[in-house]
């Protein structure tokens, strides 16, 4: 054993704790840390589980959830801005213009590629493309992942009712016009 003060060749080291003392410290720490761990798991055991049994129960989604798109077809002006904004080029649309009226042929979104980034939603001048809370996209083949947005898919009952109201108002206006003529 070197001297406690130390010199140039043998610098001073703190004295080693005796191994007998360390044995008791280890024993104490082992028992205490095991007891701590056991108390943590016991407390967690009596907590309500956070697991959601998915097919039976569903998570309540935040209003800003970015799920499957839905399109307010009568508002859309066929400007192609959403398709241009799409970074993965998954929106296809085609329509024929008859003056102010549009005759829609295609408006599809390919969910094989779509990453639900919402970049198509921001540039829309009519604010007619939205992302809903529907997220279950389970299909048996890839073709089924290409959804046709012209079928009013993903609209909530409220939105459907709103659309039905505007349709009815439009029909009433047309009828009045015809009367006037």
């Amino acid at each position: 054993m070197g001297s406690m003060e130390g010199d140039a060749l043998t610098p001073a080291r703190p004295p080693k704790p005796s191994s007998f003392r360390r044995w008791w410290v280890n024993l104490y720490e082992g028992v205490v840390s095991t007891a701590q761990g056991m108390s943590i798991t016991l407390r967690t055991f009596f907590k309500k589980p956070v697991t959601v049994q998915y097919p039976e129960q569903e998570l309540e989604l935040d209003g800003r959830y970015r799920g499957i798109h839905f399109l307010e077809q009568d508002l859309c002006i066929y400007c192609d801005v959403c398709a241009k904004a799409c970074p993965v080029d998954c929106i296809e649309m085609d329509a024929t213009r008859h003056g102010k009226e549009l005759e829609w042929h295609v408006f599809t979104l390919d969910y094989n590629r779509c990453m639900l980034c919402e970049l198509c939603v921001y540039p829309c001048p009519k604010d007619c493309i939205h992302q809903g809370e529907e997220y279950a996209l389970v299909t048996e083949n890839r073709e089924d992942m290409v959804l046709d947005l012209l079928t009013w898919k993903g609209l909530t009952d409220e939105q459907k009712q709103k659309i039905a109201e505007t349709e009815a108002a439009k029909a009433a206006r047309d009828a009045e016009k015809e009367k006037g003529e």
């Binding site: 044995w23 280890n26 024993l27 082992g30 095991t34 761990g37 056991m38 943590i40 798991t41 016991l42 055991f45 049994q53 097919p55 039976e56």
Partner: protein
């Protein structure tokens, strides 16, 4: 639980039927005799342990004078089965698992047996039945952990539980299996019913060691209020068996609770804990218990 009735209670039955109907696979290169014999030996020794357990007054298959001695001897037979399984599988993981199992069982059998000595000295008997009968005082609460030697009883109880975890290859001492490095350890090559036997053995042995701890430390079938029953009441065996099963199942739950909590140890940590901590502690407790009992017995 989605299917299988209330909280999936029938899943266990379905699992047993599934394991029964699975194909019987013998790996090429495996030793056919050892491979087939190992699960039978392991399962048989686990079931033999139940023969000496005193479930209730009058409910015990055999009251041996050397009951605990028999139980320890039979319990160590499972290790032979583990080694046979590991060697017979002709698989490096199985062999590593079996070697660890052997090392662990050889090390922890010592503190396991030594931690049983304080209650044996206290009751002066190797018979589980006799030890249980001596704990019927204080209206059914004369358990060893509540006796005047409680200061030896409580540490030796925890020592016994710890050593029995290692003996039964339960977490944190499940090195013979250690899924993270040995696939499934000694039962890597086993499937179907033979695999089920290894698992059943593990849980049967857990229950048996818990039952020993119950019989020696927690009063066996004695429960508070048993003196209110009439002498020789027909209810006593039933309520006693219920008390015994509840206590033993509580200890099994504690073993499962330990599994939730503690991560698996390294093999050198297992050896350190066994030889440097549990064995000296068990020896010290043995000496303390012997001194206490000798002092008490002095005229």
């Amino acid at each position: 639980m989605r299917t299988g009735g209330w909280h999936g209670w029938s899943q266990t039955l379905a699992d047993a039927i599934k394991l029964l109907t699975k194909e019987d696979i013998l790996p090429s290169g495996a030793d056919p005799v050892l491979f087939r014999l190992a699960p039978a030996l392991v399962m048989g020794s686990a079931l033999a342990m139940f023969a000496v357990l005193p479930f209730a007054p009058g409910i015990q298959f055999a009251d041996l004078d050397l009951g605990i001695y028999f139980l320890l001897a039979i319990a160590s037979l499972t290790t032979i089965g583990v080694i046979m399984a590991g060697w017979g599988s002709n698989n490096k993981w199985s062999l590593y698992g079996a070697m660890r199992g052997a090392a662990q069982a050889a090390s922890y059998e010592i503190p396991l047996a030594l931690s049983l000595i304080p209650p044996i000295l206290h009751f002066g008997t190797f018979s589980l039945l006799n030890a249980t009968e001596q704990q019927s005082g204080w209206g059914g609460m004369g358990w060893y952990v509540f006796s005047d030697a409680f200061w030896v009883a409580i540490p030796s109880f925890f020592l016994f539980l710890t050593a029995s975890l290692a003996e039964n290859r339960r977490a944190p001492f499940d090195l013979p299996e250690s899924e993270s490095e040995l696939v499934a350890g000694f039962h890597t090559e086993y499937s179907g019913l033979r695999f089920a036997f290894f698992f059943l053995e593990e849980y049967a042995a857990m229950f048996a060691t818990s039952a020993v701890a119950t019989a020696y430390w927690l009063g066996g079938w004695n429960f508070p209020g048993m003196t209110l029953l009439a002498e020789g009441s027909a209810w006593l065996p039933w309520l006693g068996a219920l008390a015994f099963l509840l206590k033993a199942m509580f200890l099994v739950c504690v073993m499962i609770w330990v599994r939730w909590t503690l991560p698996r140890l390294r093999i050198d940590q297992v050896m350190t804990l066994g030889w440097k901590y549990l064995t000296p502690l068990a020896l010290g407790l043995m000496v303390a218990a012997a001194g206490w009992e000798a002092w008490r017995a002095m005229p």
